[in-house]
Amino acid sequence: MKDIVIGSIRALALRRLTFLLIANAGIALLMGQLSPYFFTVSDGQAILQYGAVLGLLALGQTIVIISGGGGIDLSIGGMLSLTGIVFASLVAHHNVPVVAAGLLAVGLGLGLGAFNGVAITIVGIPPLIATLGTYYLYSSLALVATDGAPLSGFPNSFANLGQGFVLEIPNQFLFVVVPATVLLTYLLRGTILGRAIYLVGVNENAARLSGISVIRARMAAYMISGLVAALGAMITASWLMSARPDAGANYELQSITVAVLGGTYIFGGEGTLGGSLLAVLLVTMLATGLQLANIDPTWQLGILGVVLLVAVTLNEYVFRQGIHLRLRRGLPTAEPSNV
């Protein structure tokens, strides 16, 4: 009996997607018990609206971590704050049409991501320090630009993106998160660049010797992170109809947590976007459920920290299992780099 229990826990840990689906179902049932409002259409909509931004950022963070070399993007929230402020000031103070301002914000996001990428791949600063530096740089610039005050003054029609629905589904989920997920999944699975991102994460030297440009693959990863941060900034602005200079605060912890919980290996080379999104769903249900149960949001931070530690410990265990399996089959094993 004991063996069966341990065996099934082990099997679940190794099948991350199944594990996440079951965990999601469990959390949903629990929250349904805590609050009668949990299983309503409006609450489902709220979860999709609330989780959309984190979902986008999780895509970027996951790809950065997969690309390896100690890959991590601590500046992702700072990029969200800064692109949001620039976008809002273009629309509200400089009368730039929303679409043009949106394109400029996306361009800025790509630029900020490229700056990270250059600092990491070409100058050679470790990602941890490079993105810690730019995190403070980007988020302070957002604060300085507005003197700490939020910006508003969007045209009313702009609220459609963050507050509207089509077929009861929130627009930002249907028209931003879903297309972004499909495109990035195709990029990772179906293009040479995507395979290169995985390969440089598994073994940088092997990738280089096979003629893959490590710089190009990692640059792309950090630029994708900037891109999703800009998209997240616009969704946030439309949802709240204002842009706060600290809109991205705490998203670095949240996005890293969901990426790791979704099964992304912190040393690079392994991870799926689907896993990260299931983890976003789980974390978001937990957060809204706690809100419905009137539990103070500061606790969420602590719970998130615990989730991160448990998830990363689980991953370490799973990966060791993976190494054993590979060794048994005589396959080469990835050597985790020293971070």
Partner: protein, 331 residues
């Protein structure tokens, strides 16, 4: 050779090239602010900066060990928050001072050991562990404060921290004492040499018989102890404890260590460099405020200096490695 150049060479020999560079940068900074900021170059202002830098100095001292080891701890700010609350609570309750000191150091050691155990025994990268515990400890501060400020810390504790040793603020003298101990530890004790060895090549150190796990655990615990001491100094300096206590301390400490020349990938660094880095960061914040730069800019300026300092280090290192390779080919 002019006497100036000879003197420069002697300082270089004493400090090493990297420290000479940061010493030059620090001197330039001091001269710039002394000229540009009225009231900067007064004894009182310098004492204020030294006093308010002593907590960062203690954190950065412990952080130097971790960074040489190839690790990092971003949870020190929240850790300091918990210890500062406990120190404040005990002082309010009138507990005797030696007991308070023991209590905060014990709290720091426990929290630091928790981080260290996860890094050393589970094998999770230190940035991920401490990112997680940063939030957990912060929730702990929130729970302890219960939505209020902790006030009423007796003023005798402030006068103690504000006392001077000749002209040196008491709290900074404590920090200097700790730096002396850390310098001795890193240079002359087995533990210190093991820390350098692990940072340079963990696998080689392990094969040479170094107990890697224990060294990591002890280093994290030591940082915890210093964080506890820093929390006590903080409580003695600041009249109330609020939920955001120590929020930017981790960045300030890491920036000081890295600007002081420790390599973030491990294996090199010194407490002398870190001390210069702490002074650089402390005088930077103070000078910017005096010349009227809004405080919102502080972190942006610091982030930029962090990137510049590491960027220059890596470029120089790469040039040197390339030159060595070339020399090797020609030989």
């Amino acid at each position: 050779l002019t006497p100036l150049a000879r003197g420069g060479r002697r300082i270089r020999g004493l400090l090493g090239q990297r420290q000479a560079a940061i010493a030059t940068v620090l001197a330039t900074e001091l001269i710039f602010f002394a000229v540009a900021a009225p009231g900067f170059a007064t004894l009182q202002n310098i004492q204020t900066v030294l006093q308010s830098s002593s907590e960062i100095a203690l954190l950065a001292g412990g952080m130097t060990l971790l960074i040489i080891l190839g690790s990092v701890d971003v949870s020190v700010g929240s850790m300091l928050g918990i210890a500062a609350y406990i120190a404040g609570r005990l002082l309010v309750d009138g507990t005797s001072k030696p007991l308070v000191l023991l209590a905060v150091i014990a709290v720091g050691v426990v929290l630091g050991t928790f981080n260290g155990a996860l890094v050393a025994f589970v094998g999770i990268p230190s940035i991920i562990v401490t990112l997680g515990t940063m939030s957990i400890f912060r929730a702990g501060v929130f729970w302890l404060l219960n939505g209020q400020f902790l006030v009423g810390i007796p003023s005798f504790s402030r006068s103690l921290a504000q006392g001077h040793l000749l002209w040196l603020p008491g709290s900074f003298a404590i920090a200097l004492l700790v730096y002396g101990g850390l310098w001795h530890l890193l240079r002359h004790r087995v533990l210190g040499r093991r820390i350098y060895a692990i940072g340079n090549n963990e696998e080689a150190a392990r094969l040479a018989g170094v107990n890697v796990r224990r060294t990591k655990l002890v280093s994290f615990a030591l940082l915890g102890a210093l964080t506890g001491l820093a929390a006590l100094l903080y409580t003695m300096r600041v009249p109330s404890i609020e939920i955001t206590v120590g929020q930017d301390f981790a960045l300030l400490a890491i920036a000081a260590v890295v600007i002081g020349g420790a390599s973030i990938t491990g294996g090199s660094g010194s407490v002398v460099g870190t001390l210069l880095g702490v002074l650089f960061v402390g005088f930077l914040n103070n000078g910017l405020v005096i010349i009227g730069v809004p405080s919102l800019w502080e972190l942006a300026v610091l982030g930029t200096f962090l990137l510049l300092s590491v960027g220059i280090d890596h470029t120089v290192e790469r040039r040197r490695a390339a030159a060595t390779r070339r020399a090797g080919r020609e030989a």
